[in-house]
Symmetry: C2
Subunit: 397 residues, 2 copies
């Protein structure tokens, strides 16, 4: 049984804050500062260049990949950390397109995170030759997976609404028409159980700084199905993806399996922070995290809907088709969120009108959900958001 | 005047070690641990998501870019940090090729760092359509810059030998025939004065973990000449390079100037470590660093050549055409380096036969150079390297 009181105690959560934005940036694992300090002082400071071998830095991306892999149903040896999610999207798409010659279409949806669309746009521009990104409404994805599609690029959970695509069903449809499936797990990894192997996903990518709690700018991960591992070409063919990086050959030969998806020198300080976060994740069972997430999101929705009739639920009502967040719409969403933040409830706003609340059972429980709902009710009932200072838009993330 | 005793005192250098590998991984600035701890505890821990604005994380890549830019002769607002050097090579090349339509050739040399060649290979494979990477011997680069060349991709200082290309001359030649010039400054930034603006370089890239001392996996930087800033298309078009990242538009519009070369979420912990390193660099004058580097490399060469006749100088003898490292060749180079490392002199080995010693005046002086030369002399005179344990090849960086 996952002991959620124990996992909560392993995070630093500031006094007086209810943090419902762990789906944007997870909070600090208490052990992370010491773990990073050890990397800096005992490893970088004392071992210097020899840290790459002696401290195991070189293998850290794959070692952590195995631990992230457990949370997303990946086979052993199929996940590696590195770069940013946008870069990993590019690699996955480029590999998939090359594996499906004769087809030119990347299919995605308008609910996808824009950076995925931008990266696909950059790739099809680079490829030229009629390659194209086709974007349809989320609910029209399935009907548009046809024989023209080379690869689908779908984010399982919508970053604004939490709406969850059916990974197994869409992957099956893709395969049935001869397409490959790339899944973005940015709002899935650590949010809900993912079964990449069972769904026969071809590629998957995700980031570590949201639900995984690796800290600001934590590296991304990429998964390649075992059946593609020796076939995929990463396009971004960097030296650490080479079969023998330290032979310094002039010609590129892709490395074994998932190693070929590495590009440049891995960010060791960020990986050390992720390691501290994974020490917490190792104590968690994803099915139990999911059950608790559903109970908490249901509770939050019920309370908010009762107390705040002017807020419209933007997330699916059926928890089976929802990620681990709850979103509401309101034309004054921006000001409402500023008023909440000033009162210690941190969620976030997504243009044009979405209030987004991440529910993360490792450190959020009934008390936080109830407290946030009560403060939101107070803000709405008394129109506390209707103040000029809440309407000045700063750049927010 | 740069106070080299003061800069040396700002680094942690392990007892009993002479560190001549700062051209591979720079040593730890003493202030880095506290700087990163502050980012982790006071920023990530306390500010959580609001750190992106409150702690200035979002602008850190450009703020640090300005400070790195001073060392490489870049105009204000032309340098940004992020990703790895390999990724930045890809962006620079893709931008340059798109700006020079009708030409298909990337010209590089066999002395270039292999990852640059691999990335170019990945790009031309992705582009198809007759795009090609042409690689010639370093001394033949100039003669091969002709009207077929779209872009030159040259690393100024050879990672093995320290041989230095003439940036101004090759850039002029490139421009004279209508080509663009991409410069890799991996072994230049912090090693010697670079004058990107004066040389009219079009693009430049480099890394922060070598001479700049940002720590393992520190991010790369990219420079785009002001005249190209609003024209270049980064190919890797990520959301943080978008004109309005937080508008979450579905269509990509490149950001203003150098900002468009950003891709994904920046690695804040690594950037914090770089910030501590730049606090030291801010005290240094590159012309003085260069003068001292030349004095020290000349001294080291003289001592080693006198004491170790079996070692062949692999670096140029003329310091004007040499970076801030000294390399020697020996068929048993690998074993010799292991024997040196066991005796506290850390340099590195580069296949097949290069012993490489980085000379980094911020923390290396006459005592270290003389001490290393003496130990090397002892190892060679007494054939101390001729032990089985020194010949077992582990993976080294």
């Amino acid at each position: 049984m996952t002991d959620f009181a124990a996992t909560k105690a392993m995070f630093h959560l500031p006094e007086g804050v209810i943090y419902l934005d762990g789906n944007s940036l997870g909070p600090l694992p208490k052990a992370a500062a010491a773990r990073v300090a050890r990397t800096i002082e005992a490893e970088w400071g004392e071992m210097l260049i020899t840290g790459w071998n002696k401290a195991g830095w070189m293998d850290l991306p794959a070692r952590l990949g195995a631990r992230v892999g457990r949370l997303i149903g990946a086979e052993p040896g199929t996940v590696v950390l590195g770069d940013t999610l946008s870069i990993k999207v590019y690699q996955a798409l480029a590999s998939a397109l090359e594996m499906n010659p004769g087809r030119k279409v990347i299919l995605s949806d308008t609910g996808n995170f824009p950076s995925d669309l931008y990266m696909a746009d950059g790739l099809v521009r680079t490829l030229g030759n009629g390659y194209a990104l086709k974007t349809v409404a989320p609910e029209e994805v399935e009907a548009n997976i046809d024989e023209t599609v080379a690869v689908t690029m779908i984010t399982e959970v919508d970053y604004r609404t939490g709406r969850k695509h059916d990974m197994k069903r869409l992957t099956e449809k893709a395969h049935a028409v001869g397409a490959l499936a790339v899944w973005d797990l940015a709002h899935s990894a650590g949010a809900l159980p993912v079964d990449l192997a069972g769904c026969k996903a071809d590629f998957a990518v995700g980031c570590s700084y949201k639900y995984l709690n690796a800290g600001p700018g934590g590296p991304a991960f990429i998964y390649v199905a075992p059946r593609h591992a020796e076939v995929a070409r990463p396009a971004l063919s960097g030296w650490l993806g080479h079969e023998a990086p330290f032979a310094f050959d002039l010609a590129y030969r892709p490395g074994r399996g998932i190693e070929r998806m590495r590009v440049g020198t891995p960010p060791i300080l960020q990986l050390a922070a992720l390691e501290a976060a994974m020490d917490i994740w190792d104590l968690a069972d994803m099915a139990e995290v999911r059950a608790r997430s559903i109970a908490l999101t249901e509770r939050f929705i019920a309370r908010v809907e009762t107390a705040c009739p002017s807020l419209t639920l933007a997330s699916p009502r059926d928890p089976a088709t929802r990620g681990s967040q709850v979103s509401f719409r309101h034309p004054e969403g921006y000001a409402i969120m500023q008023a909440l933040i000033e009162r210690g409830v941190i969620g976030d706003f997504r243009a044009p009108d979405i209030l987004r609340f991440g529910v993360t059972p490792l450190y959020i429980g009934e008390a936080e959900v109830d407290g946030a709902a009560a403060i939101l009710a107070e803000v709405m009932t008394n129109a506390l958001w209707d103040q000029p200072q809440y309407k000045v838009r700063a750049r927010v993330t």
